[in-house]
Every structure is written in structure tokens, then in C-alpha cells.
């Protein structure tokens, strides 16, 4: 479970996040939706302890991120916005590097990597150097290395960004699988169909604040809009930054 409590973050005079609170529960997929520049990435960065909030707190499985960041990181699997690989290492070596940093013993390491390679359908690329990988192959590798320590909670920042149709479908299937395994899945997106199709709960962020937090159907009813798209436009108050 991931809990954000009244998060604030400013960069100089610019307030990026201005009082964000929500809860992402286990066994659910929570979508963080908002136009570009709404503060999604900054919020996520605070959740996975890369940034320290100016105010407010982050709890992961009840552990305070400010108190024990390492324990929080062990419980988080993170696919950040930046997902570069080491191109002179093979996909396997890339994943193994992170497994070692997670302090996983050799046997478990091999077992987990094999399982992830099977689940992500990347057997044919696992022993290739990642130089020249397609966007989809790169994301698969990045996800495998993010989940190699079998975390209870998974944070994905715009996971389908830059993926083609097939890769996007595979990604959605994979996220549903994570949910079925009882994990807490939190992902950000600015694509409404994706959020509507996947999420048990939608948190809408605009201008650094949470403007809605409900299940997809509830959101439609709340706004009285016919489609989800209309609902978003009503909530955010403009069509700016929303992609169909």
C-alpha cells in the first residue's frame, strides 16, 4: 500500500506539487492521471524517495519514507520516467546488476530473472547487448530490473510512453497480472483510454493538486458526463494537455 499525505514540493518559485494526498491499495491498479506538467512525475519521485517533499509524508506498507528510505525502496519496484539501460551490457546483465544491488543471493537471482524473462516474453533478447534495442525491448528490460526483487508495490511512470500497439497491449496484460498477484500498482498516464480500461481507482491531478479521486464509473456519475473523456475535461476545467 502506498500512501501520500499532503505532499508539497516547490522548485524555486514554481510550485510543482501543492498538497497531494491519496492512497493506492494492494490488489488494485491506481491511475495517476493529469495533463502534462500537472505534477505527476514529481509526485511519483517523492513516492519512490528520489525527492524529499517540502512538506507531507509518504508511507509505503506503513513505513515512513523520511524515516527509513532504504526499507521503502526495498518494497518498491519503480519504472521511472528515465529508463536508460547500460548498452554495453546484455539485458540479463542489466537485470542482474540491479538484483545484486538489491542484495539478492545468486540462486534467487537466477530464479527470479528466469521467471521475469518468461513473464515478459523476452527470451530471445535476454543475452543480447541492449544497444540497438527497440523501445519495447528496452521497456521490458527496464521493468524486469525494476521488479527483480519481487516488490509488493509497483510504481510505473508513463509505462506505455513510446510503445507501439502490440507492446502497449502486452504492458497492460502485465499490469493486470501484477494486480492479480495482489500487488499494489500505481501508474501515471495522460492517456484516458488506458486509465479507464485498467484502473480500479483514478486520481486526477491538475496544477499540483488532486482534483478527483474515485473509481472510473463514479467519476462519470459525479460529473454527469456521458464519457470518461468529457468527465476529465469537466474535472480539469480545460482540454489542455489531454491526449485521446
Amino acid at each position: 500500500m502506498i500512501e501520500a499525505r499532503d505532499l508539497h514540493k516547490a522548485f524555486g518559485a514554481v510550485t510543482a506539487v501543492d498538497g497531494v494526498s491519496f492512497v493506492a491499495r494492494d490488489g488494485e491498479i491506481t491511475g495517476l492521471l493529469g495533463p502534462n506538467g500537472a505534477g505527476k512525475t514529481t509526485t511519483l519521485r517523492m513516492l519512490y524517495t528520489l525527492m524529499r517533499p517540502d512538506r507531507g509524508e509518504v508511507l509505503v506498507d506503513g513505513i515512513d519514507a523520511a524515516g527509513d528510505a532504504a526499507a521503502v525502496r526495498r518494497r518498491l519496484g519503480v519504472l521511472p520516467d528515465a529508463r536508460g539501460l547500460y548498452k554495453r551490457l546484455t539485458a540479463y546483465e542489466n537485470i542482474e546488476y540491479f538484483a545484486r544491488l538489491q542484495d539478492i543471493d545468486a540462486d534467487t537471482r537466477r530464479r527470479r530473472i528466469d521467471a521475469l524473462v518468461a513473464a515478459l516474453d523476452m527470451r530471445d533478447i535476454v543475452d543480447r547487448r541492449t544497444e540497438g534495442f527497440s523501445q519495447g525491448q528496452r521497456v521490458k528490460t527496464a521493468i524486469a530490473r525494476a521488479l527483480v526483487h519481487d516488490p509488493r508495490n509497483v510504481i510505473l511512470d508513463e509505462p506505455t510512453n513510446g510503445l507501439d500497439v502490440m507492446a502497449t497491449r502486452a504492458m497492460r496484460t502485465f499490469m493486470l497480472r501484477l494486480k492479480q498477484e495482489g500487488r499494489c500498482v500505481l501508474f501515471s498516464s495522460h492517456i484516458m483510454q488506458e486509465v479507464g480500461a485498467l484502473c480500479d481507482r483514478i486520481v486526477v491531478i491538475a496544477r499540483g493538486r488532486v482534483v478527483a479521486d474515485a473509481a472510473p464509473e463514479a467519476l462519470r456519475e459525479q460529473t454527469g458526463a456521458a464519457t470518461l473523456e468529457d468527465a476529465f475535461v469537466k474535472i480539469i476545467g480545460s482540454e489542455e494537455g489531454l491526449a485521446a
Binding site: 532504504a70 525502496r73 521511472p80 536508460g84 539501460l85 547500460y86 554495453r88 544491488l101
Partner: protein
């Protein structure tokens, strides 16, 4: 600690797979500098030797005015040549090194017993011509003295009357010390080797990691940034150290091929020189690796980091330049200044001058302290939030 090792081996493995980095670290850095140095020195020594033995070509204007002088010069090994029409201009434009002009009034003054004048046209700023000028000047002086002595004898006076004082030179420099002045640049080349050896990794592990967007995922792992930094610094220092060892080995071998013995010089290039050099350079390797990482950490991209590091490369030249511009007497405090300490130590080791163990210790200790400081500052910068963000 385990995390630091994991990072260390990953960086080493990854960079060993980069052919360009390997060539720079293991070949260009350590070998190019000593080899170039050997070539330069070799050429310089050979030129010096050539000049002393070869006939000295001198363009002489008005040779007909002083046939005896010209004959004497010829006997001393001067090759008399026709002078250019405008000697001053020819010298200024470096067509000739020097011109000897014998004015028309020479013979008359000579016959009267007045001081006869000859003119030596040369350019003091032409380093290349200095040897020839000095040689010709010496020959002319010798001719003047000889003639003067003969005139005195002819008048029944002892030539010693005009020589109340004789200077006898007793050069105290040892053969090693004389070669030392030629090798003043050597410490800089060692430092440069270290610098080039670590450069690729310092950039790749910080600015490079940020540019390829892998720094953020890395920092999300449950590992302290200190551990990550330690691994990266360790890998950078390891490559730099490899460069240094190869530099020293290459130089120890190449130095034996220098014809230094011909100039009555000798170099101390044995195992004790190599080990002592390694000892004083060791903390410098860590210090430079840390400074390079620090500079690269400020850069947003690979290219920017390269610019910073290229500028940083000029810092080690400063003590070398200072010591060659102001040849200060070696004093104990110099050992305590990083870079200068290494410069002074390596010079003395090379010249075979005595160097006290406490001085080597001082050099090591002071640089180690500076290295520690550089590491702490780098660690502090590394902890900043801004560092992790790629875009």
C-alpha cells in the same frame, strides 16, 4: 560495501567492453606521452651532439677585409659562406642563424693597433641559433686573445700582465642532475597519464549515466549514494592507476634507449624509482579521480563534462610551469602541496638526488588528505537531489 563492489565491477566490466575507452586508458594515455617525450629528447640530444662536432657554417660579409681572421676561423672548423645582401633582414626572417660582418675599416684599425671591430648579427630570441652564436663568439674571443698575447710578447711584455684573474669552473652538478633539467616535464606526463586514464570513466559514470537516463533507476535501489559513489570512484581510480603503472613501466623501458650517456648524464630508472613514484602518485590518483568525478557531476551531458575535464587538465601543468619559470630551491613545504609535491619528488628521484623518507611521507600524506577532502566534497554533491534528475 557490497553495493560499492557491485558498482565497481559493473563499471569495470562495462567500460572494458568499450574499445575506445580501453585504447585511451591502456594505450594512448600511458604510452603516447612517454613516447613523445622520448622522441623530443632524443632529437634534442642528437641535435646538441651534432652541433658540437659539425663544422659551423657562418655567412661572412666583407671576408676580404680580414683574410687572416677568416683563415683562423677556417682552421677552427668554421665553414665560411657568402653573406646575404641584407644581413639584418635575413636574420630577422630566419633565413640564416647569424652573420659575421667585417667592416671596410677593419684592416686600417688593425694596422694602427686600434681595436678593430667586427659585427655579429643575430637574434637573441632564436633558441636554435644560440649554440652557433656562442660558438662563433668563443672563436673570435680566442683569436683576439691569441693575437693580443703575441703583440705583448713582441714588445717584451708577459701576456700574464693583462690577465690578473683566471676563473676556473668547477661544475658541481652530477650526471643525473644534468639530465634532470631535461626531464622537468616528466612528472607532468605521469600526471597526464593518470588524468587520461580516469577521464572516460569519470564522465561515463556520472554525466554519461545521466545522459543515457540510467542514473535515476540506479538511485532508486536501496543502496546508499555513498556506496554507489565509492564504487564509481573506485572504478575510475582503478583505470587511472592502470594508466599510471603502464606509464611508469613504459618510461622505465623507453628511458634506457635514450642516448643520455653521450651527454655524460644518467637516469635512475630502476625499481626503486618506479616504486617510489608509484607511492607518491597513489593518493594523487584518488584525488584526480575524485576531482574528475566532481567536475563531471556538474555537467548535464557527456559533451559538457568533456569540456570541464579538458579545462581541469590544465591544473596539473601549473606547478610544472611555476617550477620551470621560477626554479626555486627544493624546500620541505613543497612536498606538502599536492601536484607540486609529486613534481618535486619525481624530479629528485629521477636525478638520483637524496630524498628523505619523511619527505616522501609528507607528499603522500598531504595529497592523501587532499584526496579525502575531494572525495567528501564529491560525496556531498552526489547527495544532492538535483543530481539524480535526468531531464
Amino acid at each position: 560495501m557490497r553495493a560499492a563492489l557491485t558498482v565497481f565491477w559493473k563499471e569495470v566490466r562495462e567500460n572494458l567492453r568499450d574499445r575506445r575507452t580501453v585504447i585511451n586508458t591502456l594505450l594512448t594515455g600511458p604510452l603516447l606521452a612517454p613516447l613523445m617525450f622520448v622522441l623530443i629528447i632524443n632529437a634534442a640530444i642528437t641535435r646538441e651532439l651534432d652541433k658540437a662536432d659539425k663544422p659551423l657554417p657562418v655567412p661572412v660579409a666583407g671576408a676580404a677585409n680580414a683574410p687572416n681572421l677568416v683563415a683562423a676561423l677556417r682552421r677552427a672548423g668554421v665553414e665560411i659562406k657568402d653573406a646575404p645582401a641584407d644581413p639584418e633582414r635575413a636574420v630577422r626572417e630566419q633565413d640564416v642563424d647569424l652573420v659575421l660582418r667585417i667592416p671596410a675599416g677593419y684592416a686600417e684599425a688593425w694596422a694602427k693597433g686600434d681595436p678593430a671591430q667586427v659585427e655579429l648579427v643575430y637574434d637573441q630570441s632564436q633558441r636554435d641559433a644560440q649554440g652557433s652564436v656562442a660558438r662563433l663568439h668563443g672563436l673570435l674571443d680566442a683569436y683576439a686573445q691569441q693575437t693580443g698575447a703575441l703583440r705583448l710578447v713582441a714588445r717584451g711584455v708577459s701576456p700574464n700582465v693583462t690577465r690578473p684573474l683566471v676563473v676556473a669552473e668547477r661544475d658541481q652538478s652530477t650526471a643525473q642532475a644534468r639530465s634532470g633539467t631535461l626531464f622537468g616535464m616528466l612528472p607532468y606526463f605521469f600526471i597526464l597519464g593518470v588524468f587520461i586514464g580516469g577521464m572516460a570513466l569519470a564522465i561515463d559514470t556520472t554525466a554519461g549515466e545521466r545522459e543515457r537516463q540510467s542514473l535515476e533507476p540506479l538511485l532508486v535501489n536501496p543502496v546508499g549514494r555513498g556506496g554507489i559513489l565509492a564504487g564509481k570512484l573506485g572504478a575510475t581510480a582503478a583505470f587511472a592507476f592502470t594508466s599510471l603503472v603502464l606509464s611508469i613501466v613504459a618510461f622505465s623501458i623507453a628511458g634506457r634507449f635514450l642516448p643520455t650517456a653521450k651527454l655524460g648524464m644518467s637516469l635512475e630508472l630502476g625499481a626503486s624509482f618506479a616504486l617510489a613514484t608509484l607511492f607518491v602518485m597513489l593518493p594523487l590518483v584518488v584525488m584526480l579521480a575524485s576531482l574528475q568525478t566532481l567536475a563531471a557531476a556538474f555537467a548535464k551531458s557527456f559533451r559538457e563534462a568533456q569540456t570541464y575535464l579538458s579545462l581541469l587538465m590544465f591544473v596539473p601543468v601549473i606547478p610544472t610551469l611555476l617550477l620551470s619559470l621560477f626554479p626555486l630551491k627544493t624546500q620541505s613545504w613543497m612536498y606538502a602541496v599536492p601536484l607540486m609535491g609529486q613534481q618535486v619528488s619525481i624530479m629528485r628521484l629521477l636525478r638520483g638526488d637524496p630524498i628523505a623518507p619523511y619527505q616522501l611521507g609528507l607528499c603522500f600524506g598531504a595529497t592523501a588528505l587532499a584526496a579525502l577532502l575531494a572525495c567528501l566534497v564529491t560525496a556531498w554533491v552526489y547527495r544532492s537531489e538535483r543530481l539524480a534528475i535526468s531531464a
